[in-house]
Symmetry: C2
């Protein structure tokens, strides 16, 4: 069957809220059967997530309190694109310097993910970062982060045990492990 | 270092919007350094995503137009918990019947993921479904879905090639492949 039978046509767009990270719109669409429907959509500028891999097979992760999850999560370094025009590669380099204090001289794309395509436009570009050199950049003033270094194999075990539960971290580590094994 | 140095304390909560899928709040928090900050948070009731695995090693996936992604995505069957109290296992069984028309007699947990812990409370419970029998349930009236069956190995190749870009699908398929290989 053709995808044309699945597509929704936008027929209205109401701005509910414009914030720092989240912009909420309620859109009216016409369904494939001609009926109207409402879609609540978060417009998000996109993000990057980076697996920083050291020559000895260790990865550098961050522990960060996430208010929405109401817990401290173990994640790969990541962040939102600063503005619509920021190139994902530039954002990946910047976030690594801000969050773990290292510059990556080698960046390899691991693809990308829509994290919540039912209601958010956010697309996270995933990268593997290698050839890391110490070169810190001042972090965002409202981010409190602890860096943790562990073997990639240990991080993968933490995914399988449920200790790592962040989608971009699960996706990027498992894609990296599959690509480079 | 202790996680206590990372935790934010909620000191205010403003309801911006209450919708069908998305409830937007702006919360005031006190940062670990004592300073206040604003957190834009989507309160979400949670969801399930299910990898339906047939005895011959094929998985059943769905193609669905996602307005937020503005494209048709290839995903594992999934859906939001119907109400706060719906058990994730019950939701997994229901969504499989609605989306692909099969009842799973065997459901195995694959853990779970926070899809966007920076701004959404959504946690997706991941399952592997086996011993599938044809037993359809009427689908949501505003969902238009095509079912696609392919070998798990082909789905994994589509993750690595970038053809599958949905976070819950990437996470659940790669966790399933790692656990049962």
């Amino acid at each position: 069957m053709s995808d044309d039978q699945l597509i929704e046509i936008e027929i209205g767009d109401e701005i509910i809220y414009e914030g720092r990270v989240v912009n909420l719109h309620v859109k009216q669409v016409r369904l494939p059967n001609g009926q109207p429907a409402k879609r609540e959509i978060i417009l998000h500028s996109g993000a990057v997530a980076v697996v920083p891999l050291l020559p000895d097979g260790q990865v550098m992760l961050v522990r960060q309190y996430r208010k929405a999850a109401d817990r401290v999560l173990l994640e790969v370094p990541a962040g939102t694109l600063d503005h619509k025009g920021e190139a994902p590669e530039a954002a990946a380099i910047r976030e690594l310097r801000e969050e773990i204090g290292y510059r990556a001289n080698q960046l390899t794309s691991l693809g990308g993910i829509f994290v919540a395509p039912g209601y958010s436009t956010e697309y996270i570009h995933l990268y593997l970062a290698q050839d890391l050199v110490h070169d810190p950049l001042a972090a965002d003033s409202d981010e409190f982060i602890h860096t943790v270094t562990m073997p990639l194999t240990e991080a993968l075990a933490k995914i399988m045990s449920g200790e790592i539960e962040d989608a971009k971290t699960v996706s990027s580590l498992l894609i990296a492990a599959r690509r480079f094994s």
